[in-house]
Amino acid sequence: MPDYETLRLIWWLLLGTLLIGFAIMDGFDLGVGATFRFLGRTDEERRALLESVEPVWEGNQVWLILGGGAVFAAWPLLYAASFSGLYLAMFALLAALILRPVGFTWRNQLADPRWRSVWDVALMLGGAVPALLCGVAFGNLFLGLPFHFDELRRPVFTGGFFGLLHPFALLAGVVSLAMLVMHGTAYASLKVGEPMSQRAAALGRWAAVVFAIAFVAAGAWVAGIPGHHIVSGADPLGPSNPLHKHVGLVPGGWLLHYHVHPLLWLAPLGALAGAALCFVALRARRPGSAFLASCLAVAATILTAGVALFPFFLPSSTQPDHGLTVWDASSSARVLLIMLVAVVILLPVVLAYTAWVFSVLRGKITLESIRRHAGY
């Protein structure tokens, strides 16, 4: 049986995997949702764009649900502190996510153009708001959130909603939104017929440029803000108690791992290379390659942030010693092991039937196929 430290490391990697799974799978349908009204000008064109994601988005979103469940099961302190600390932001995210299932299902039930416009806007919000908020949340991790634990170990927050809208966090939001627009338009370009495919490719190139610029700017900004690092008291093998360690702040400290292990620079370089390749492939009208390149950019971006923050999940800006790390926020070793076994057995099954569903649905959605549609 792996020891507690190894289990915690594995679960850090697994959480990263789930997050990347969410960003790649749900990311493309969020990106399509955020842009389909611009890419499609007639109702038929919009229906084709929506139909490129409609049969699969629901399964894709389970990556987010599973991510939430996995944080609850493997990192309960993180789940408790982050969800309650980001209270109103969470409800904004929730409202946006609720608009999606109803929007997809209800939009085409009535032919009235006003009805469809309302749900188009709902679907756009449902795509753009989560993409933006996830980035803002990630940005705030680098800044630290204002919380500490009381004697019963309840997380106490001292900041409000607007405190989360720090310029750096907003920049991180732009990174995230541009990334998923690039990803979604690459997918749309692959999946729908003309003229939407052409428009998607054009917008995707712009998104790739915005993403690359914002990503580099965020990196430069991170080099200037203080990073947290554990000075003493962390016990990777000990019980999860976030109150025993001492945390120091170093300017530019979030880049420490990159200075110590230069190979890690491959992660941010991968993100930029992915964006560049996506740009080139979209220009060359090779949407399949463009989508693979944007997958690379998405995965590498999340990896870049994760590596920088390690071992922190949720640094505290007001009481740095209470920040949550891989070593002091996990479940018991028993639960980590049981859940690991479950993931190892079940995730390949999920991937297998997901692949089958995508293969059944392969092929482009063209305007002709939309016109042929027999309905439900």
């Binding site: 409609e54 469940g69 609850f72 302190l77 408790a80 209270y87 019963l152 028993r334 639960v335 049981i338």
Partner: protein, 520 residues
Amino acid sequence: MIDGAVITLSRTQFALTALYHFLFVPLTLGLSMILVIMESVYVMTGREIWKSMTRFWGVLFGINFAMGVATGITMEFQFGTNWAYYSHYVGDIFGAPLALEGLMAFFLEATFVGLFFFGWERLSKVAHLAVTAMVALGSSLSALWILIANAWMQYPVGAQFNPQTMRMELVSFTQVLLNPVAQAKFVHTVAAGYVVGSVFVLAVSAWYLLRGRNVDIARRSMAVAASFGLACALSVVVLGDESGYVAGENQRMKIAAIEAEWHTEPPPASFTVFGFPDVQTHRTHAAIRVPWLLGLIATRSIDQPVPGIVELVARARERIVSGIEAYAALRTLQQDPDDGNARARFAAHEADLGHALLLLRFVEDPTQATPRQIEQAAWSTVPNVPVLFWCFRVMVGLGVFFILLFATAFYLASRHRFFENRWFLRIAFLSLPLPWIAAELGWIVAEYGRQPWAIDGVLPTFLAASPVPASSVWLSLAGFVVFYSALAAVDVYLLVRTIRRGPDGFGFWPITSAPAGAAH
């Protein structure tokens, strides 16, 4: 200390969003199974009308499914947003079933549901039936994991408090999985969902028959709903989850409250069919009792007593006193984890630690509690007796009504005599809202009856809430009320519209080559 307004608001929000979520879940559970039955008949007989039935009921399923998904995300998020201390305190046990629900059940359901709608032309008959079956299996499995988690709140087995991490930790996963309360709840809840689906199909079909529309589809649908519904309605009542109530102490309190049994009766206890429970005098006025029945239902025996409320409060008082010892020892251990005396003292009383936490509502430091405060805390373990008493009786009454309804439908279906019985068709149509009322009452009995505990005997509800500002919870609660009401209005509008349009309007049956436009 603890902001009372935040607790009340968070409880209200959780109750409303959970009850709202459960308007859609049981219909998803029931309709998905009925779709499997109808499509199976299609695959076996090759008769097109059964495919048309599957597609038509599938449209209604889809509209409802979207709402179930939309409101389900709220439930997962809320443990973290509004119940942060709960999440920390029991996340080691409670998180796993929720994660497994996503991994094993929701992935299955959500990945295949798209193919149900978009796969008719891309899949063979059998493959499409397999897809439908996966959706149904996923939703029932989903219920299983959620009810394993919920049952642990009612009867927390297989876990122990860890003073170093200040939380409950998992000791035996097998015990959590095989929790007897979970088994009783799963059968009861899923069967109740199937009843909701069956009454829905029955009522809508009755409406078509009353108008003489879609007669072929309505008659067949009614036959499916009658037979499936009858089997499920019998399961719901016979396998009612009361059988699980004897397991834990709070469960015993719940059953005593449901029955307004103030004092322990000599076994076997009688069942109070009707009466007015009086919280002040601890008596039930104008009671009509059936001898032996409660003892038989609750203990499945004639010689075991069903403990009464006053006796259970006395037991709670003992546990609070013992819990104070555990609380004091825990304080010492926090200062000095190696204190041998304190360890032994904690080990002797740790099972009652949760009861000491009840005192935090009345006194800052439980070790300083006065006898009066201990008495108050002991009586705080009694849930709202009149509410439980009445909710339970209405629910059971409705359950019995469904059996009669389905039995009559079954009889009429087997004799092909629906048309001669317009009175029955009217009753069937008017029954449409009843199964939802029964299902919601069931949750009120189960969860309101769990109070004052979030986790029975482990964590009081008032302690479990997140320390967020009351203004934030006001905002989210108001947002939910407005947003959810609007969605409900649209949902009902679309369902009614789809039903009015009917299989004929969609061109499903009789099959027309060019179905009318809007309903892609």
